[in-house]
């Protein structure tokens, strides 16, 4: 009895020490080489190259194989990766990157400035979602020598913005693989060739992806792991069971059910945390298709926003994992979050009045009109939110039909075929509104680019604010411009973003050096290792 109590005391003392000094608990361990990291891969998008598609579902695989020019360090500051240093001209129109020397592609060819030039001009500027907006004013990339890339812009590019954008939108692809081919159809899109710590080996659709240790990686003696396996598991409950069986060590980006997140959080074998995802704040969206004349009426959009009791939804369905959202810039972004923007509090009477005013009287069965809602197939919160939208809109006389599709089908019908009325998914905010937020509003996005303005909504005033803010070098003025932006889009309401969340990771306690940057799940894992 006494012994047990003493043992308990010792254990709790050790626990307290490790909580207070986590670095001390780990510092004594020497990294172990070898081992296989297995990752839950919930949403196949049929593309793995992050130079062509910016999405957590691409970074989770491609981010280990290809690398960006700039990465983030533990405190969220830009850190050298393929670029060793950078410098901006005083007018902000020229930014020079010095590239790392002695880096080779997985096929043995050297990495040079020509690869950066080709990727920037042909992929980031022309194809990459978000990239097309960030690089809108990029005119050319000069390569005075094989290890210098000079980005020339027609309007000033704030260095801070570019450096915050590049960790996500700065992945480099090999020119010799893509040159002269149809980039979108290149086989390397699903068998990527990069410079990263892991080399692509095999991709079996719907089953698994394998990448092995790159023995020629430029960070000497890294990575520690021998192999990474991504297991494609679409069923959330099955993925949780595989984690408990030890077949999956890491489930990123809130891919498990909320009930399982809470359950595994109490299991000593797992860590459930938002750490390592701070750079990936997300908001739940409600996207309107303006090609439907009913939704092109602002009174209808506002009525729909007023019909949703978001605090009730968060309290009863999402719990601790979410908070009330106020628009496209989430509150975690202290540099840009604006106060006192137009909001749409739950007000069913006002919603009904607005719909009456718009001329949509209730017909048979109290129904005013029908809408189709396309929910994105990732994340349980989206499924719950879409059902909640259906239930809430029924109360104000709008009949909603939910259309469920797989990931590729959803992206195609919403962002390419424009075949939807309402859509809901995640908008991801990445450290600066110009990285992956303003593209949801700026007109002129290429058709088919996911998570961009495909609503058929064009507003010259919004476009002007976005462009000015993107090339404003003065920090205070940029902040003011983004406040104008939020005020404008919360008034016009082409999309409504009423919920804020940070992604939740579920990790096996065997992982070491994990969650050590604000975009760790997307990063290269060169220093990740597995305790035995």
């Amino acid at each position: 009895m006494d012994l047990t109590r003493r043992a308990t005391l010792l254990t709790s003392a050790a626990l307290a020490a490790s909580v207070l000094h986590p670095e001390r608990a780990f510092a004594q361990e020497t990294p172990r080489r070898g081992g296989i990291m297995s990752v839950h891969f919930a949403t196949e998008q049929r593309i793995l190259n992050p130079s062509l598609q910016a999405s957590t579902g691409v970074y989770i695989v491609g981010g280990k194989i290809q690398e960006p020019l700039v990465d983030l360090d533990a405190n969220g500051n830009p850190a050298p990766c393929l670029a060793e240093s950078w410098e901006a001209a005083p007018d902000g129109k020229t930014i020079t990157f010095k590239l790392r020397q002695g880096v080779t592609w997985h096929d043995g060819r050297p990495f040079t400035a020509a690869d950066v030039q080709f990727t920037a001009m042909e992929m980031w500027k022309k194809i990459l979602n978000y990239g097309t907006a960030v690089q809108l004013f990029l005119e050319a990339v000069d390569t005075p020598d094989p290890h210098t890339a000079v980005f020339r812009y027609s309007r000033a590019m704030p260095l801070g913005l570019l450096l915050r954008a590049l960790p996500d939108l700065g992945y480099v692809s090999p020119k010799h693989v893509y040159e002269g081919s149809d980039i979108r159809q290149n086989p390397a899109n699903t068998a990527p060739i990069g410079t990263g710590p892991f080399r692509f080996v095999q991709y079996e659709r719907g089953q698994f992806i394998i990448a092995d240790r790159n023995p020629n990686y430029w960070r000497n003696n890294l990575p520690y792991l021998d192999r990474v396996i991504w297991r494609v598991v679409g069923d959330r409950a099955a993925a949780a069971a595989q984690m408990e069986a030890g077949q999956i060590l890491f489930s990123p980006y809130s891919s498990l059910t909320i009930a399982d997140l809470q359950r595994l959080g109490r299991d000593p074998r797992f860590e459930v945390t938002t750490k390592g995802n701070e750079g990936n704040a997300r908001t739940n969206t409600l996207e309107f298709n303006f090609r439907n004349p009913v939704l092109a009426d602002i009174r209808v959009r506002r009525a729909i926003a007023h019909a949703l009791d978001v605090p009730f939804f968060i309290e009863n369905f999402l719990g601790d994992f979410a908070k009330l959202g106020t628009g496209p810039i989430p509150s975690v972004s202290t540099d840009f979050y604006p106060q006192g923007m137009p909001q749409y509090a739950f007000d069913r009477r006002r919603a009904n009045a607005l719909l009456d005013e718009a001329g949509h009287r209730r017909g048979a069965g109290g129904v005013r009109f029908n809408l189709r809602l396309h929910p994105a197939p990732w994340g349980e919160d989206i499924a719950l939110w879409s059902t909640f939208i259906q239930q809430s809109l029924q109360e104000v006389g709008i009949r909603v039909e939910i259309v469920r599709l797989d990931a590729a089908g959803f992206l195609r019908s919403v962002y390419n075929d424009w075949n939807f009325d309402l859509a809901t998914g995640w908008h991801q905010y990445r450290n600066d509104p110009a990285v992956s937020t303003t593209v949801w509003y700026r007109s002129g996005q290429p058709k088919g680019a996911p998570w961009t303005n495909q609503w058929g909504w064009t507003d010259a005033e919004t476009d002007r604010i976005i462009d000015d803010a993107q090339s404003e070098v003065d920090a205070a003025k940029r902040r003011a411009l983004y406040a104008d932006f939020v005020r404008r889009v919360n008034t016009e309401l082409p999309i409504w973003m009423p919920i804020e969340q940070i992604f939740v990771s579920v990790l096996s306690k065997r992982l070491r050096n994990h969650s050590n940057t604000p975009r760790w799940a997307s990063s290269s894992w060169h220093d990740l290792w597995l305790a035995s």
């Binding site: 359950r263 719950l384 059902t387 909640f388 239930q391 809430s392 029924q394 469920r404």
Partner: protein, 276 residues
Amino acid sequence: MRAIRAYLRGPAAMIGLVLLLAVIAMALSADWAYPRDPLSLAGRPLQWPGANPRFLLGTDNSGRDIAAQIFHGARISLLIGLVATGIAILIGIVVGALAGYHGGWVDDVLMRVTEAFQTLPNFLLLLVLVAVFGSDITTVTVAIGVVSWPAPARLTRAEFLSLRSREFVEACRTLGMGDMRIIFREILPNALPPIIVYASVVMAVAILLESALAFLRLSDPNVASWGNLIGLGRDVLRTQWYVSAIPGVAILATVLAVSLVGQGLNDALNPRLRGR
């Protein structure tokens, strides 16, 4: 009359009948017992059965009343069962009757087509149909009917093969009756009892097929079906198992009821089993 008496003598058949009547009663009383839309938000999600007297069977993870969904879901299940069975039996009878009566090349062609359908597992074929034509409830029902016809067709053909050379058929031919009249007015009524019995199997399978589709989240999410509830409950299976278990029991009871009734009908209608 004699068949009814024979039916009522079987205890299993009586249990089946009572269960089936209970499901039908649920379907009929759904609007009266739960007048609100069963998919509407009723209260806090995931309340255990009995925890709140307002929700006898608790609420699911979307805050909907499970009892209301069970009652309204009975309609959907029975509707899918009846309509899909109707479609399957209709196609099956037409194909089987023509093949069995005519024989020769007509039989060859129709049976090769039937076999082509039979070589495909019917659930896979159903998945393909739903993937191509979408998953609203009408499409799903028709698709289930379309994948279920080969077995009734073969059964009908077998009956026709044995009946077509009987004397009464020869007599009809001698009287100068047309083929269609012989097939549908003379042979079919004699071939019908085993087909009716088999219809109960088709109906049970149809209900299960819809549930399987919904379990994979491929059925129509806009109707309150039992399968949808099971599919939704899968997310909370480890903690709130009742969300999946309650509709599971409802499906079990309905399928069992239909099967027992079919068995009872078989015993009552099949003269060879009489007096056993």
